[in-house]
């Protein structure tokens, strides 16, 4: 078995777990955690494709992953900020109750 396949399987598993969490959890923070898992699955893919790709000496995959982690950190901060504000405003973090944008 190609070592890349193993990494990709792990990443796919991680992504699926994250997606399942994001889709099924009612708590906004847990949904955020799920999203975070999906993001890291993507990062793992980036690293894996770089490491076993045609130019492992170019450090491109690592750069991508680092940028992605930085953006994810910022995104997590913004997301948590939003969740805190929503909680203050609506006294709940249950996503099912946040349906005021209904068409």
């Amino acid at each position: 078995m190609n070592p890349l396949t193993g990494y990709l399987l792990v990443a796919a598993l991680l992504f699926s777990i994250g997606l399942a969490g994001a889709l099924t959890r009612r708590n906004a923070i847990l949904v955020l955690i799920g999203i975070e898992l999906m993001l890291n699955a993507a990062n793992l893919n980036l690293i894996a494709f770089w490491r076993y790709g045609p130019h492992p000496e170019a450090l491109t995959g690592m750069m991508f992953a680092i940028f992605s982690i930085a953006v994810a950190a910022a995104e997590a901060a913004v997301g948590l900020g939003l969740v805190i504000n929503i909680h203050r405003h609506a006294h709940t973090t249950n996503l099912d109750q946040m349906n005021r944008m209904k068409g």
């Binding site: 949904v31 946040m98 068409g103």
Partner: protein
């Protein structure tokens, strides 16, 4: 008749005075504009503005007069013009302008002076009227417009001001619009003068078509100057008239309307429904004289083509109309009982004298009578106003009498006016001016009939004035209440006018014909031998006889024993049918009633029928057709267009509702859809990659 002005050099360059002549009418018009926006209770401001503006005009007029006078004294024929182009279409342009010459200078001084006196008089006469402010607004507008007529050097500008004068006349006759008689008189005046004005306008258009200019004088190219007149004479019109005669006659029709000449005189006696100062200013002294002034202004045209000492068709018509009006109106005046109506018919008669004077004797003769008449007739009207005021708004002379005792100042001045109007020899101005007319009538080559008509008219004039004065001032008081003398603001102008009613005669005696010399640019020579000429002595004698017969007969019949209102008049007892005919104004109004007015009512009914039945029918038909068309359109709209539109709207709405269900507002639903879409995309990619 006209003296040639050989020694007088024409002067062309316009001085500053002539260039700023427009200020004379502009200032009163501006004042009237200011008064128009004043509130009704600002009475003092209104009269002060009007009087101030006219005083300013009088001052300017005197300066202009002095300027012309000094030019004349230096041997110059002053005729200074200023003109500007009003508008231009193609090659022809319409010019407006004003002229300063002896004729306009004399008229300016007369109008502003008499006008000012009447303004001052009005402050007393109208003191208790609630619409005092409006009165002065109209009066000031009138003065401005009249001065515009006087200075106009363009027939068009003259016509504009002429119409403005007619408008103010209408407004002032109908000043007491709540009186039905006044409202009707105003309409009558406006419509009757309009008849003349239509002809006048035709004349203006014709003149413009022939000469290409409406300026009177414009350094040789004006319509009253030699080049244009020669062209007009060469142009034959219909029935053997030259264009000059035909245009002259059309213009005379306008003048006849304004100056109350037969057959357009009917409005003037009715115009006495207006306030008395208006009667004095507009319907005695100035506006009605505008017609005479107009003829004097276009005299070169009227006279064009005359042989030496001869006369033209236009002037002959002017003479006959004038002479006939003079006699005709004097007859009617004999049998009137309204103090102002007598004076109105007298005015019509005197305007006839002026017209006859213009027709037979030239500008100087007619204009001299115009000027003297303006003073003594204004005096008489204002005296009559004073009498009416003193007798508590009574106008019927049968309800007056004995006022000599109660109103001595009015009586004294009124008698002077009356004697001037009668033409009492030597002392009064009316004698000198009427004498000049009779003299030219005597020497008229065509016929002696106008002379006899004028002489008989003069006898009647003396008679009816004596009758009126006897009724009003002599005998016992027959009215109600106590008559009283009028306030100072009314009697002072009377005294001033009385002075001029006497003194003005000195300007036009045969021994020193200053007036004629001034107007015709000749030298005024003092020559007392003129008094010794047999022809003149004959006329003096005739005048003496006329006045003696007129006044003597009047005094004999009426004297101090004028009858009361319920008793018949002396003439009525002697000749009832004659009296009735004269009292009813020779049935001219009734004649117009059954001819012109009946025709117009019939025509109005025809037009009404046409409107209702014919045009109305056509309009209804068109409306019906369009109504049908509209109904069809509505049917199509509701059943075809609307149906399709509604259906599509419904579809859009339904599908929108379906799609809106997806947007539940639940974040995780969106996320699930997103995931589903990604899965679908992944499967698609996978399958396409496999292929």
């Amino acid at each position: 008749m006209m003296q040639e002005s050989i020694s007088f050099t024409p002067q062309l360059a316009a001085s500053a005075i002539a260039r700023n002549l427009w200020l004379i009418p502009a200032v009163p018009i501006a004042a009237s504009g200011v008064i128009a926006v004043l509130k009704q209770p600002r009475r003092k401001t209104a009269s002060a503005l009007a009087i101030g503006a006219l005083s300013f005009s009088l001052l300017l007029a005197l300066i202009a007069f002095a300027h012309v006078l000094s030019g004349w004294a230096n041997g110059q024929a002053v005729r200074e013009t200023a003109s500007f182009t009003w508008f231009q279409t193609g090659a022809s342009h319409v010019d407006l302008g004003w002229v300063l010459d002896p004729l306009s200078a004399i008229m300016l001084v007369m109008v502003t002076f008499v006008g000012l006196l009447i303004f001052i008089y009005s402050t007393g006469y109208m003191a208790h009227d609630e619409n005092y402010t409006r009165f002065f607004c109209f009066l000031s507008l009138f003065a401005g417009a009249m001065l515009g007529v006087v200075i106009a050097n363009s027939l068009l500008l003259l016509f504009m001001c002429w119409e403005l004068v007619g408008l103010t006349s209408y407004l002032l006759i109908g000043f007491w619009y709540f009186k039905p008689a006044a409202a009707a008189a105003a309409k009558k005046a406006f419509l009757t003068t309009r008849v003349g004005d239509v002809f006048f306008l035709l004349g203006i258009v014709w003149l413009f078509a022939q000469t290409g200019t409406l300026l009177f004088y414009n350094s040789g190219t004006g319509s009253m100057e030699q080049a244009a007149l020669t062209g007009l004479l060469a142009q034959p019109a219909a029935w053997g008239f030259t264009a000059a005669s035909a245009i002259g006659l059309l213009i005379f029709a306008g003048a006849a309307g304004k100056s109350g000449q037969f057959p357009l005189h009917v409005w003037l006696p009715d115009a006495m429904e207006g306030p008395t100062p208006v009667s004095a200013l507009i319907h005695a002294a100035t506006m009605v004289a505008a017609g005479v002034y107009l003829i004097a202004r276009v005299y070169p045209l009227m006279q064009a083509g005359a042989l030496t000492g001869g006369t033209t068709t236009a002037l002959t018509v002017v003479t006959w109309v004038g002479a006939f009006t003079a006699l005709f109106a004097a007859c009617i005046a004999v049998a009137q009982n309204d103090i102002k109506r007598i004076l109105a018919y007298s005015t019509v008669s005197q305007l006839g004298y002026m017209m006859a004077g213009l027709g037979m004797g030239g500008v100087a003769v007619g204009m001299f009578h115009l000027i003297t008449h303006a003073f003594f007739k204004a005096l008489l009207f204002m005296g009559a106003g004073s009498v009416i005021h003193g007798c508590h708004e009574e106008q019927d002379i049968r309800n007056m009498g004995g006022l000599k005792k109660y109103m001595p100042l009015t009586f004294a001045t009124y008698s002077i006016g009356m004697l001037a109007l009668c033409g009492v020899p030597i002392l009064f101005s009316g004698f000198w001016s009427k004498d000049a007319i009779l003299e030219s009538a005597h020497g008229w080559p065509l016929s002696h009939a106008p002379y006899y008509m004028l002489v008989f008219g003069a006898i009647l004039t003396a008679f009816y004035m004596t009758r009126q004065v006897s009724y009003v001032f002599f005998g016992a008081y027959r009215g109600h209440g106590h008559p009283h003398e009028s306030p100072r603001s009314m009697t002072t102008p009377l005294a001033i006018l009385a002075f001029f009613a006497i003194a003005l005669g000195a300007l036009g005696t045969p021994a020193w014909p200053w007036f004629r010399a001034f107007l015709e640019n000749g030298a005024a020579v003092v020559d007392f031998h003129a008094f010794a000429e047999p022809a003149w002595l004959m006329l003096l004698l005739t005048s003496c006889v006329i006045v003696t017969i007129g006044i003597g007969l009047g005094w004999m019949l009426y004297g101090s024993k004028s009858p009361a209102a319920d008793q018949p008049d002396v003439i009525e007892r002697a000749a009832p049918p004659l009296w009735a005919a004269l009292r009813d104004r020779l049935y001219i109004d009734e004649f117009y009633g059954v001819t012109v007015i009946a025709f117009y009512s019939w025509w109005a009914r025809v037009a009404d029928w046409l409107d209702r039945r014919v045009w109305g029918g056509i309009v209804s038909l068109v409306a019906f057709v369009f109504g049908l068309w509209a109904t069809l359109n509505r049917f199509l709209d509701t059943n075809v267009v609307d149906g399709a539109f509604d259906k599509s709207c419904e579809e859009i709405s339904t599908s929108g509702g379906l799609l809106a269900r997806i947007q539940s507002g639940r974040v995780q639903t969106y996320l699930r859809l997103l995931a589903l879409a990604v899965v679908v995309l992944a499967i698609l990619l996978f399958w396409s990659g496999r292929a």
